[in-house]
């Protein structure tokens, strides 16, 4: 049982280090050109379609996918390097991140060939943005309580209902959503939901922005009214979305974005304390770096398992549990440690501005993409407790 919980030490191959240099050089150029400010953490304000295309042109989107769909057939470990470098630089990845991480792999697995040939190359070129339609006003963590209906009609389905907390729906070209095609059965309450590809920006879909406590408007309510989805946009088995949802969780939950979301405040703290920190600052920084290093090694290890074709759902849940709790606490720990930073520290203002944003962002980190409670339930199941 616990034998399943192994995080073997993966060493990134040499080609990853070459790639890392290329990504850093590219990002340095973009920063120099004024595309984004690496000290400004609220990159989610920034929709950067041109940047997205330039990342695509580098071959860094869909990089693990087959070449015939525009991919590069490179490894998960290489994708990992690109992802972490983008995240640490605070690059504006909003437009392509979901498509690259999640939506593309779902389409690869479940979409018909004509759709794959149409959409995947455009993701790889950085041209299109995806949203994920899971939560509804009365079903969040309880995914299988979703009620938005897909009713069979001539040549496809009619969608009626509301998705909510849908990140990027206001800019998305497509959404991958789950809709109810049948009622749940007595034996299986997860039965009856089907995964669909939805083309956004059409009549029958209304996107209403929702303000967040950070001051941003990056998630939305999405209302479907008799919206038509053609037959070939069904992804996978009708009524069987529950069988498909779990295997993707390992991709969604183990990446570097699950512990690097507030990383910038740690960098800035190190800058603020200078080369000769007092004992308190040194110990605080040392512990945070040790914790960060450990999570990254766990996360890289999961990338290695994915690379080897495994489905490390429990391991990925552990990474997200520990990682998101850590990145949530990080701004508060940094605030503690920065309490005695000299008034004259040159980056004091930057740090304060970053802390202000990070502290407001922190509460969502253990909610989005699977709450801590849901993750611990998955881990408990993996331990044989339920």
């Amino acid at each position: 049982m616990t034998a399943a919980l192994r995080f073997d030490p993966i060493r990134l191959p040499e080609k990853c280090e070459q790639l890392r240099k290329e990504v850093r050089a590219f990002l340095a150029e973009e920063i120099a050109a004024g595309t984004f400010d690496p000290h400004k953490p609220n990159r989610e304000d920034t929709d950067a379609p041109e940047f997205s295309r330039r990342v695509g042109a580098k071959g860094w989107l869909g990089m693990t996918w087959p070449k015939k769909y525009g991919g590069q057939e490179r490894s998960f470990l290489e994708r990992y390097v690109v992802t972490e470098e983008m995240r640490v630089a605070n690059a504006p990845t909003r437009r392509f991140f979901v498509a690259d991480r999640q939506s593309g792999p779902v389409l690869l697995k479940y979409a018909p060939e004509n759709i794959k040939m149409d959409i995947l190359p455009r993701i790889c070129r950085g041209e299109i943005c995806f949203a994920i339609g899971m939560s509804e006003p009365n079903s969040g963590s309880d995914l299988f309580a979703a009620k938005t209906r897909a009713t069979k009609t001539e040549g496809g389905y009619l969608i009626n209902g509301t998705k909510i907390w849908t990140s990027s729906a206001h800019i998305a070209d497509y959404m991958i959503a789950i809709f109810r095609t049948s009622p749940p059965t007595r034996e299986n309450r997860r039965h009856g939901l089907t995964q669909f590809l939805v083309k956004m920006k059409q009549p029958g879909i209304k996107v209403n922005p929702i303000g967040q406590i950070t001051g941003q408007y990056e998630f939305n309510e999405v209302v479907f009214t008799d919206f038509f989805v053609p037959e070939d946009h069904v992804l996978g088995e009708v009524d069987g979305a529950w069988k498909q949802a779990t295997s993707e969780l390992a991709y969604e939950r183990s990446g570097p974005e699950r512990f690097l979301e507030t990383y910038y405040v740690l960098t800035e703290l190190v800058r603020a304390v200078g080369p000769n920190p007092d004992t308190r600052s040194a110990e605080g920084i040392g512990r945070l770096v040790a914790q960060l290093h450990t999570m990254r090694r766990m996360s890289v290890s999961v990338a290695g398992m994915l690379h080897a074709g495994k489905e490390p759902v429990v391991e990925a849940s552990i990474v997200k549990d520990i990682g998101t709790v850590w990145e949530q606490q990080l701004p508060h720990r940094v605030r503690d440690l920065a309490a005695f930073v000299e008034e004259t520290a040159t980056n004091r203002e930057t740090l304060e501005r970053q802390l202000d944003f990070a502290i407001k962002t922190a509460p969502k980190l253990t909610i989005q993409g699977g709450t801590t409670e849901v993750l611990r339930g998955i881990i408990a199941r993996g331990l044989g407790l339920r």
């Binding site: 049982m1 616990t2 034998a3 919980l5 192994r6 995080f7 073997d8 030490p9 060493r11 990134l12 890392r20 390097v81 972490e84 470098e85 640490v88 990383y263 740690l266 960098t267 800035e268 190190v270 800058r271 304390v273 200078g274 080369p275 000769n276 920190p277 004992t279 600052s281 040194a282 110990e283 605080g284 920084i285 040392g286 512990r287 770096v289 040790a290 914790q291 960060l292 290093h293 450990t294 999570m295 990254r296 090694r297 766990m298 290890s301 391991e315 552990i318 549990d321 520990i322 409670e373 993750l375 611990r376 339930g377 881990i379 408990a380 993996g382 331990l383 044989g384 407790l385 339920r386």
Partner: protein, 354 residues
């Protein structure tokens, strides 16, 4: 238990299962298990794993030796296996052959120091030396005016004030007063007290990680047996979430420790990257010993607090191991200083170095 994937670990696990079963040991009030266990380990050449052929050992790889220490942690083995391995490793760095029998290393803390005088005699006081009382020889790292030396010292030439750590294992104060070593050689370049502490710290990290794996195992098992409020306590969500957190702490400890072991086993020197790995392992494993061990006790309730139950063999030892070769506070301060010295923009390149 993790599957054994090499012959050294396989051999050790068989010996541990036969002669170091925690329940049997816990029932044995006279410590009569110690001698047969040590004898079996010695006959298999395990305490001198890291000593090459020409210096009297089997010459196992660093990687195999680290895996062996992880297995020893899973059984909470309470004989000076890790200490003798480290001593053998240190002596081998200066091409000094290892004698038979139990050994330990001096110093065992970054705060203590042994000095070498012009007559070749060693002096100094070392606190918290694990298993000094049981050792026949010490492997000593000493500072003289020409730099660092490594020495083999007859333990009977020292003064030992005996003590116990929180895990009830010997942790003694050793005083050398102008002691002439059996053998003394200059340390090769790259071997110094910091690196010895890092090696010792990684050994302890692997032991802690092993102990946590076992704590998770026995806690899960217990929660599936114990009934309260008319159901197994494993069915309570609060208990499930506690055990999920214990699994996380156990996983983090194992990941940090095995990563550091892999880094050392494949490094040509103790550079900043290896320092990050080794220091982080000790810091994170020590934190996990506290958090994870606390949960294991909470799940067990009062029974886990009894001396009859085996839980304390793991939980207290894991806590005690935090103190050896530099506590997590020590390494956190040192790692923090290293990070500050390198500067803010060099932090990420360090973290992403492998």
């Amino acid at each position: 238990m993790a599957e054994s994937d090499n012959i050294v670990v396989e051999t050790a696990e068989k010996i541990f299962a036969d002669l170091a079963d925690p329940q049997t040991i816990n029932n044995d009030k006279k410590d009569s298990w110690q001698a047969p266990l040590w004898q079996a380990l010695s006959e298999a050449g395990l305490p001198l794993s890291w000593v090459p052929d020409d210096l009297g050992g089997p010459g196992a790889s660093l990687a195999d030796g680290f895996a062996l220490l992880n297995a020893a942690g899973r059984f909470a083995v309470a004989v000076p296996l890790a200490e003798t391995m480290l001593a053998g490793w240190l002596l081998a760095q200066a091409k000094i052959a290892s004698p038979e029998g139990e050994m330990t290393v001096l110093p065992a803390s970054p705060r203590d120091r042994i000095t070498l005088d012009a007559d070749g005699a060693l002096s100094g006081r070392c606190r918290g030396v694990p298993f000094a009382k049981a050792a026949q020889h010490f492997a000593v790292l000493a500072h003289g005016k020409d730099g660092v030396s490594i020495a083999l010292v007859d333990a009977s030439k020292s003064r030992i004030e005996s003590g116990l750590n929180v895990g009830y294992d010997h942790s003694d104060t050793v005083t050398l007063a102008e002691v002439q070593p059996v053998t003394l050689k200059a340390a090769p370049k790259g071997v110094d007290q910091t690196n010895l502490m890092l090696m010792g710290g990684v050994a302890r990290s692997l032991q802690i990680a092993g102990a946590l794996e076992s704590m998770l195992d026995i806690s899960v098992r217990y929660s599936n047996e114990r009934v309260a409020f008319e159901k197994k306590i494993s069915k309570f969500q609060a208990v499930q979430h506690n055990l999920a957190r214990l699994a996380g702490e156990s996983a983090a400890a194992l990941a940090a420790a095995t990563s550091a072991a892999d880094a050392i086993a494949n490094a040509t020197s103790f550079n900043d990257e290896v320092y990050l790995e080794a220091a982080s392992a000790k810091i994170r494993c020590a934190e996990a010993a506290e958090k994870g061990g606390g949960i294991a006790h909470q799940v067990h309730g009062a029974i886990g607090f009894t001396i009859e139950h085996i839980l304390h063999r793991y939980s207290l030892r894991a806590l005690a191991w935090r103190d050896d070769f530099g506590s997590e506070s020590h390494w956190a301060v040192e790692l923090g200083k290293l990070v500050a010295r390198r500067g803010a923009d060099e932090l990420w390149p360090l973290v992403a170095s492998r």
